[in-house]
């Protein structure tokens, strides 16, 4: 079979970084081609070249159905039948769902006005094909991150593309939504559409792939059919280590001492939309890793935002037995809390600032005498964390904007880890992180607990929750629907509490 698209000897150099080094990639129609590799391996860069966002260095070639092409820009790429769902969300929050799906190609009535009815109906059709229940007329800003991701997928599908690139599409989806997406992708492939699928999740890769290409440090290390690939081999190709060495054993450091207790935590609602989180009661022990699970939209993030003072609430929070009044993030931080937010680009990072400046923003006073920043101390501390977490960046002065998605996530973790809060809330801490780094993050969280910090982990990744939590709290529709000790927490028991 002749490949639909071939990328031959593609290189890309950024100042100080050789992101791609003579990469070859052949994509067939009707196949799901998984692109795997560590954070910063060059996956997104390769896709940006394929969609005309970036221009490759001279010397390489792209062919579509055997014909050499120069892909000028994303619009041109789309006209060639290539569309992409970006790693970072690209939806307009103040437009409705259907306005987003049909952005820049709105169906018109003969009068020249937008045909809203048709737009909503078509959107509803695509969404129901995807098996999701979202109102086409809802404002995108009111949807969860997972739902917004689905809007993007709906948009790409509605383009009737010949090749759809999905750059970590399932990173922010619930298990249910992710399996819907995988099923959809297979269906599209069986209809002859080529799919490029980037993911860090092994199970998913083996579930969906026809072929797998592994990138490492900007080079193609292997391409082979999934039938000739095993998890062990894949991990070795990606990170050059053995899978069973990666994840250590779980040891609990939880003590009997209650560090924080939350009672009757209830949202103060301004508008009547989204989940209504109410009557949340729980205790957090010193040294404990407490997992929070729930389906997308169950209200986990909302609970954390209330505790952290960025969402209005009523109810009592006490820390060390003393009532804590938390009405803003800086109150929370003064009480010893830290919060790794789920949406790194819009809420976690100042993209235009350097790695160093982002890193130190949470604990700048550590490097200050009077109000003056000691830049040498600051840079040294940042360099330590860059090394410890394996953040791939040419220097601490690189703008965070220029890091790969997974490396941006590591910067968010570093900036909070370095502050050493007594209670660290991490919301989807390993979203978009490669498997090696995921293991590092788990062991980092473990060692923080060992030092006596308490950690709340919110994650849609159930195996992750089960692997690192001492105890699991399950939320459903804004209320606690289950609490399970480590011994009792299994895939089945947790899922039952989340859905039943």
């Amino acid at each position: 079979m002749k490949p639909f698209l071939e990328m031959i000897s593609i290189s890309k150099t950024f100042p100080g970084v050789k992101a791609l080094d003579h990469v070859d990639l052949h994509l067939n129609s009707g196949e799901v081609h998984v692109l795997a590799g560590e954070n910063g391996a060059g996956k997104s860069t390769l896709m940006k070249i394929m969609t005309g966002v970036l221009r490759a260095d001279p010397g390489g070639e792209i062919r579509i159905e055997g014909e050499p092409v120069v892909i000028k820009n994303p619009v041109h790429a789309r006209s060639l039948g290539i569309s992409i769902i970006y790693q970072e969300l690209a939806v307009v929050n103040n437009l409705t769902v259907s306005e987003n799906v049909f952005l820049a190609r709105e169906p018109l009535r003969p009068t020249g006005l937008i045909d809203r009815a048709k737009m909503n109906a078509d959107t509803r059709a695509v969404l129901s094909e995807l098996g999701v229940d979202i109102d086409p007329e809802a404002m995108v800003g009111t949807l969860s991150v997972g739902q917004r991701q689905l809007i993007e997928i709906a948009r790409a599908i509605s383009y009737k593309s010949k090749l759809i690139i999905m750059d970590e599409p399932t990173a922010s989806l619930s298990h249910h939504e992710a399996s819907t997406l995988l099923r959809m992708s297979r269906k599209l492939a069986s209809q002859g559409v080529g799919i490029v699928f980037i993911s860090h999740k092994l199970e998913e890769i083996f579930e969906i792939a026809d072929r797998v290409t592994v990138l490492r440090d900007g080079r193609t290390v292997d391409t082979r059919p999934v039938s000739e690939m095993t998890s062990d081999l894949l991990v070795r190709l990606m990170v050059d280590r053995e899978l069973d060495q990666l994840f250590g054993h779980h040891t609990s450091h939880a003590t009997a001492e209650v560090l924080m207790s939350v009672r009757n935590l209830t949202e103060k609602r301004v508008k009547d939309e989204g989940v209504f989180v109410r009557d949340v009661d729980f205790d957090l022990h010193r040294g404990e890793v407490l997992g929070f699970f729930g389906l997308v939209g169950a209200g986990r993030t909302e609970v954390m935002e209330m505790i952290f003072g960025s969402r209005p609430h009523t109810g009592e929070i006490s820390i060390n037995g003393k009532p804590a009044r938390i009405s803003s993030p800086s109150d929370a931080i003064e009480h010893g809390l830290g919060f790794v937010t789920e949406d790194r680009q819009s809420r976690g990072l100042v993209l235009g600032m350097s790695v160093r400046e982002n890193f130190s923003l949470t604990h700048l006073s550590d490097y200050c005498s009077l109000d003056f920043v000691n830049r040498r101390k600051e840079t040294a501390a940042c360099a330590d964390y860059i090394r410890a977490l394996g953040i791939k960046t040419p220097s601490p002065e690189q703008k965070v904007l220029n890091l790969s998605g997974g490396n941006q996530q590591k910067v968010v973790l570093a900036k909070w880890a370095a502050r050493r809060p007594r209670i660290l809330i991490v919301d989807e801490p390993t979203r978009g992180i490669d498997i090696g780094a995921k293991a590092e993050v788990h062991s980092l969280l473990g060692s923080m607990a060992e030092e006596g910090m308490s950690i709340i982990v919110v994650s849609s990744d159930l195996p992750e929750i089960l692997a690192i939590s001492d105890r699991v709290i399950v939320l459903k529709e804004g209320r606690i629907s289950g609490e399970l000790t480590r011994e009792n927490a299994t895939q089945e028991s947790v899922m039952l509490a989340a859905t039943g």
Binding site: S310, S330, S346, R347, M353, D371, V373, R375
Partner: protein, 320 residues
């Protein structure tokens, strides 16, 4: 070699473009007239643009937080007027200057509280106080300039010299150094950049963004008030229209100096050089006998060229 290398490093500074523009414009003017590159002319030019430049220091900080301060001209004018009133009422010069600066402080607090406590958009809040300030000035003066008796020592502020350098220029240099240090070396400065770069990320990192915003508006108005006091000291007459329309020139200076109105980007030094460039053009227009009405048009052209170059340069940098 070392020196050359260091000079080449300057290329990476944000202020590089506007500095080059300043030098090229100076050379261009000198081609046509020998009167530009003289110490006395350059000092005169510096004194002329020093007030705009001083005000642009406050403005650029506001702009870096992602805000805007349209009321700087009113703060300046009102401060000068109140200073004059104090002299008129027989207060000491110290009390008069303090009252002038106090007006600025009050102005800034009003702006800052409207923006942070009530949540008005900065454009609206400062547009309102711009009008209120202007109205107060006409109410107080009834349109007639105020020329009170002032002691000799007071006029040093606007008319004196340190060696060949006019006092307002000395004040400008001192403020430039102080605020450059604040913006690049202190925690407050870092918080100003973070607030403008991504307000919600900054807030969630523990930056007290409301306090940061309040501070920059207070600084902006107080610095403008200082400019107003200096202006009064220079002319010893408080005009009802003093400072009128100056906000546009001040914002232009910051923008020419590389500040982004979207927030997060800009520098004190850039804004000051931007003001210098505007002042240089004004001087060139006079020296070359160009129609003074053309000055505004030329300044506008320079703003567009300078900011376009900056945007293009950043785009190239970003794409590698």
């Amino acid at each position: 070699m070392r020196v050359l290398h260091q000079l080449l490093q300057l290329r990476h500074m944000r202020e590089f473009n506007v500095l080059i523009a300043l030098i090229l414009m100076g050379l261009l003017i000198s081609l046509f007239t020998p009167y530009f590159l003289t110490v006395s002319n350059l000092m005169g030019v510096s004194r002329a643009f020093s007030l705009t430049a001083i005000m642009s220091i406050g403005m650029v900080m506001v702009i870096i937080t992602g805000g805007i301060d349209l009321s700087v001209g009113s703060a300046m004018g009102l401060a000068g007027l109140i200073t004059a009133l104090c002299f008129d009422a027989g207060y000491s010069q110290y009390a008069a200057v303090a009252a002038g600066l106090g007006v600025g402080l009050a102005f800034g607090l009003t702006n800052g509280l409207l923006i942070t406590a009530i949540g008005l958009p900065p454009f609206i809040a400062t547009l309102g106080t711009l009008s209120i300030g202007r109205g107060l000035m006409y109410m107080i003066t009834h349109g007639v300039p105020l020329t009170p008796q002032t002691p000799e020592s007071f006029s040093v502020l606007g008319q004196g010299y340190v060696g060949p350098v006019p006092v307002p220029v000395v004040i400008l240099l001192v403020l430039t150094v102080i605020f450059t240090i604040i913006m690049t070396r202190t925690r407050f400065g870092r918080h100003v950049y973070a607030t403008g770069g991504n307000e919600s990320a900054a807030r969630l990192s523990g930056v007290k963004v409301q306090r940061v915003k309040l501070a920059v508006y207070v600084l902006s108005s107080t610095i403008s008030a200082l400019a107003g006091v200096i202006a009064f000291s220079r002319y010893l007459s408080a005009e009802p229209a003093s400072g009128f329309g100056s906000e546009l020139e001040v914002i232009a200076a910051a923008a020419i100096g590389g500040a982004s109105l979207a927030g997060g980007i800009g520098s004190v030094l850039g804004a000051v050089i931007g003001a210098a460039l505007i002042g240089e053009i004004a001087n060139g227009v006079v020296l070359l006998n160009i129609n003074t009405y053309a000055q505004q048009a030329i300044t506008g052209g320079v703003i567009l060229i300078a900011v376009s170059l900056d945007v293009l340069r950043n785009r190239m940098g970003g794409r590698g």
